[in-house]
Symmetry: C2
Subunit: 470 residues, 2 copies
C-alpha cells in the first residue's frame, strides 16, 4: 500500500519499473533493476526503487536475491530498511541474513518495528546470538521482548504485540479520543481500546467503531464489551486462531495468569497461523516435515524426508511378507501377481480419501465423539457401494483379460472387502490417534496404507488359494 | 462474545449450562437442555438458553440437532433468531433448513443481517426459491442483494458487504466523526471510512485509528491512504485473499468496472476463503471433492468420490500391464512378485512428498518459472540421495531374505531409479499442469503415482529379466 503522495512524487514513480507482473509474481524488470543498483553501489537509485515498497514485496524481493546481494541491500538502505520485511522470509533465509549482519544493526532494526515482529524474527536465533542483539536495546524494550520470548514456542505470548492502548474505567469516550490525538507514540495499527483496573487487570474493550459512534460524554465502561473469552499468554496459537475464526475477531487482548493485560493478538498474525496449520496437515499427510521450506538445501531436505520413507520401507516389507505366504499359489497362477497391485492400490486410494476427510474434520472440531458413530458407518457404507461399483468393472476386465471368469469373481470379491476395510480403518485410525492426544495428520497415512495393502493382498491371494487350491 | 450485561442478568446466566466443554466442543449438557426445551415447547426457556449465544455457537448447536428440531428451534425463537448463524452451517444443512421455512420467514431473517451474509445464505438456493424470498424484501435491499448475486460465484462481488461509510473529499475529520455519531443505521462493524468523488468513484480510505488520532479540523483527503491495490467486484476471492494476506489488510474497498465503490470485503470473509483454499488443495490431492461435507449422505459421498477411483482403476491397469510383460520372468522367480510392490510403493511415497511441496508452493506463488530449475534439480538430487540410502537397506534385507545377493543388487538399483523418477516427475507434473492454467492439486496425484508405479515395476522386472534371463 503506497502512502498518500504529493503529485511530483507520484509522477516520478511512473518512471520506476512495475513491482509485480500480471500474474502477481515479482516482475523480472524490477528485480533486475534492484540487482543493477546493488552492483553499481547506487544508493540513491536503490532508495528510489524501494522507497514505497510494502514489506511483503520487499520480502519477496529478498528471497529472489542471492546471499551477498541480500546483505548489501540491507546495508545500503541503512535506516530506510524496514526489518518487518524479514518476517516474510523463509526461516533459513532470515537466519542467514541475521547472522550476516552485526548485532548492533539488527538491534537498531528491532527498535523500529512492532514487538510481535521483533519476537518472530529473533526467536529463530540461538540463545547467544539473541543475547548479543538484545544487549544493544534500551532496557524497557529489552525486558518486553525477553518476556515474550520466555513464553513457549507457538503460544499467544510469542505472537502478541505488546504495544496497545489501555485506559482506566472512569475515562469518558471524549477523553479517550483526545488521549489518542495527543499521544505521538501509539501502536502502528489498532482496532480496539482496552479498559483496565488500577492493577492492570482487563475489565473490557471498546472497538474503534463503537468509540466513534458514541457521544463524547459517555464513560468507556458504559460502552465496553466484556471479554469473557480472553486469550491467555500461554494458550497455543492454534487455539487462538480457532477462536478468531469462530467469532470473527480482528484483535483480542492477551492476559497473564493473574488476568493482567500483557498484549494484543491481531488478525494478521492469526491469518498466518491458520495458513500454517492447514499447510502442516497437508505436509504431514504426505510425510513432509512441517518446517521444510523451498529454500532448504538438498542435504537438509533429503535428511528431513528420509525417516518417513524408512517407516514406509518397514511397512512395505509387511505387505511383501503377506505376498510371501502365497508364493506357491502365485507360482501356479502368475496372473495373480499381475493383478494383485490393483486391489491394494484401489484400497489405498479409498483409504486416503476417508482419512483426509477425517483428519481435517478432527482439526476443525467438526468430528467428535458425538457424531463419530454416524461417520464411521457412513464411510463403511461408502466403501461398500463404491467397492461394488468398481468390483463389477474390475471383475469384468480382469476376467476377460485372462479369459477366466472365476478369477474375475475372486478379484471382485477381494476388492469389495478391501474397500470396506479402507472406509473403516480410514476413519478409525485417525480417531484412535486423536484419542491418544497425538496429531492424526502425522501418523494416519502410514497405518492406513499398511492396512489396505495387507488386507488387499491377503484377501485377493487368500481367496484365490481357497478357490483354485494351493 | 457476550455483550455487557446488567448484574441481574449476569446472575441468571450462571444458572444456565456451560455452552462449551474444556476441549472447545459444544457441551453435551447444553445441547440436551436445548433439546428438552424444544420438546417441551418452552419458548421462554429456549430464549433464556440462547439469549446471548454467538452466531458461531448457534451454528454448531444447529448442526447437532436433527432436521425437525432445527426447524422448530428457528420458529420458536422467531425474530430473536439471528440468521447469521446459518452461514456457519454445512451447505446441505443450510439448504435443508431454508427449504423447511416459509420464504417470508427467510426474507424477514435476511433483512436483519449483513448483505454479505444474506448473499452467502441465498446463493445456494435455486433461482425460483431465491426469487420467492427476494420478493418479500423492500426494493432497495432486493436490488442490492440481486446485484451481488449477479456477480460470478466465488468473486469479490459475492463476498462483499454493501454497507459501508463513504464521505466526500471536502469533509473534515470532525464532520466525519459527527456523522458517524448521528447516523443510527451504520454497518455493524467497520474498520475504515471511504472517500468518494461526486460520481462515487473511490478516491481513498481512512482507517479508524487514523481518524481517531487526527485533529478534527483536518480534511479527510489530507489523511487518506490511496488504494492503489483496489479490489474489483469480478476478482476471484482467492486473489483477494492473497492480497489481504500479503498486505495484512483488515478490509478493502470493492469497485465496479467504472471504478465506483460498490462494497467492502472484510477480513472475516477472507479468513474463511484462506481456510477453504488450503482445504481444497488437501482434498484435491486425496481425490475428495472440494464441496464434500461431513453432513453429506452415503449416496452423495459415494457418488462424488467414485470418479477419482475409476481413474485410479484405469491407471492401475497400466501398471498391471507392465507386470504382464514380465510374466515369464515372474514364473521362473516368484520372489520378484513378492518384492515388486516395495519398489513401487517407495516411489509413490517419495513422489507424493515432492508433489505436495510443489502444489503448495505453486498455490502460494513461492514456486515460479524463476526458481523452477533450481527446485527441479534439488528434488532429483534428494531422490538420488534418499534412493541410495534406502537402496542399501532394501538390497541387504531382500538379498538376505531370499539368500540371493544378485536379487538384492537388482532391487537396490531399481529403487534408486524409481526414487529419482519420483523426484523428477513429482515436480515436473504439477509445474506442467500449472503452465496449462489448470489446478495442479486436482490432477497431479494420479499422474505421479502412475509414473512411479510404472517406472518401479518396469525398472525392477526389466533389470531382473536382463540380469537373470527371461
Amino acid at each position: 500500500m503506497r502512502e498518500d503522495a504529493d503529485a511530483p512524487v507520484a509522477e516520478a514513480a511512473d518512471a520506476l519499473p512495475q513491482v509485480r507482473d500480471s500474474d502477481g509474481n515479482l516482475a523480472d524488470g524490477f528485480r533486475e533493476a534492484i540487482r543493477a543498483a546493488i552492483a553499481a553501489r547506487d544508493v540513491d537509485r536503490l532508495r528510489a526503487l524501494t522507497g514505497d515498497l510494502h514489506e511483503a514485496d520487499m520480502g519477496d524481493l529478498i528471497e529472489e536475491l542471492d546471499g551477498d546481494e541480500r546483505r548489501r541491500l540491507i546495508e545500503m538502505l541503512g535506516p530506510a530498511f524496514d526489518f518487518t520485511a524479514l518476517t516474510e522470509l523463509d526461516e533459513t533465509v532470515r537466519v542467514g541474513i541475521l547472522r550476516g549482519l552485526s548485532p548492533l544493526t539488527v538491534a537498531r532494526g528491532m527498535r523500529d518495528i512492532d514487538s510481535d515482529d521483533a519476537v518472530y524474527i529473533l526467536e529463530d536465533l540461538d540463545e547467544e546470538e539473541m543475547a548479543a542483539v538484545l544487549q544493544h536495546l534500551p532496557a524497557p524494550e529489552r525486558v518486553a521482548l525477553r518476556r515474550s520470548l520466555d513464553y513457549p514456542e507457538d503460544s499467544a505470548g510469542r505472537r502478541m504485540q505488546t504495544e496497545f492502548i489501555a485506559v482506566p474505567p472512569f475515562w469518558t469516550v471524549g477523553r479517550t479520543i483526545d488521549y489518542m490525538r495527543e499521544t505521538p507514540d501509539l501502536p502502528e495499527t489498532f482496532y480496539e481500546v482496552f479498559v483496565v483496573d488500577p492493577a492492570y487487570r482487563l475489565v473490557g474493550s471498546v472497538s474503534l467503531d463503537r468509540l466513534l459512534r458514541t457521544r463524547r460524554t459517555m464513560l468507556v465502561t458504559q460502552v465496553k464489551t466484556e471479554q469473557l473469552k480472553g486469550v491467555k499468554a500461554t494458550d497455543d496459537q492454534e487455539d487462538v486462531a480457532r477462536l478468531f475464526e469462530r467469532y470473527n475477531l480482528v484483535s483480542a487482548p492477551v492476559v497473564d495468569d493473574a488476568g493482567r493485560l500483557v498484549g494484543v493478538m491481531t488478525i494478521d498474525d492469526v491469518v498466518d497461523v491458520i495458513q500454517e496449520e492447514a499447510d502442516e496437515d497437508l505436509r504431514a499427510l504426505a510425510g513432509v516435515g512441517s518446517d521444510e521450506e523451498l529454500s532448504d538445501s538438498v542435504a537438509y531436505t533429503a535428511k528431513s524426508r528420509l525417516p518417513w520413507l524408512v517407516v514406509n520401507l518397514g511397512t512395505a516389507f509387511i505387505s511383501a511378507s503377506i505376498i510371501g505366504l502365497f508364493e506357491a499359489t502365485i507360482e501356479k497362477m502368475v496372473a495373480l501377481a499381475v493383478l494383485m497391485p490393483i486391489v491394494a492400490s484401489m484400497g489405498g486410494n479409498a483409504g486416503t480419501q476417508t482419512m483426509t476427510v477425517a483428519v481435517r474434520a478432527l482439526a476443525t472440531k467438526e468430528l467428535s465423539s458425538h457424531n463419530a458413530r454416524r461417520i464411521v458407518s457412513r464411510e463403511v457404507l461408502v466403501g461398500l457401494f463404491n467397492g461394488l461399483a468398481l468390483a463389477c468393472m474390475l471383475g469384468l476386465i480382469a476376467g476377460a483379460w485372462f479369459a477366466n471368469v472365476q478369477l474375475g469373481a475372486v478379484i471382485a470379491s477381494a476388492l469389495v472387502m478391501n474397500m470396506m476395510a479402507a472406509g473403516l480403518f480410514g476413519i478409525l485410525i485417525p480417531l484412535a490417534i486423536s484419542w491418544l492426544k497425538l496429531d492424526p495428520a502425522v501418523a494416519s497415512g502410514v497405518f492406513v496404507t499398511t492396512v489396505t495393502d495387507t488386507v488387499g493382498f491377503f484377501a485377493f491371494l487368500g481367496l484365490a488359494t481357497w478357490w483354485f487350491g494351493a
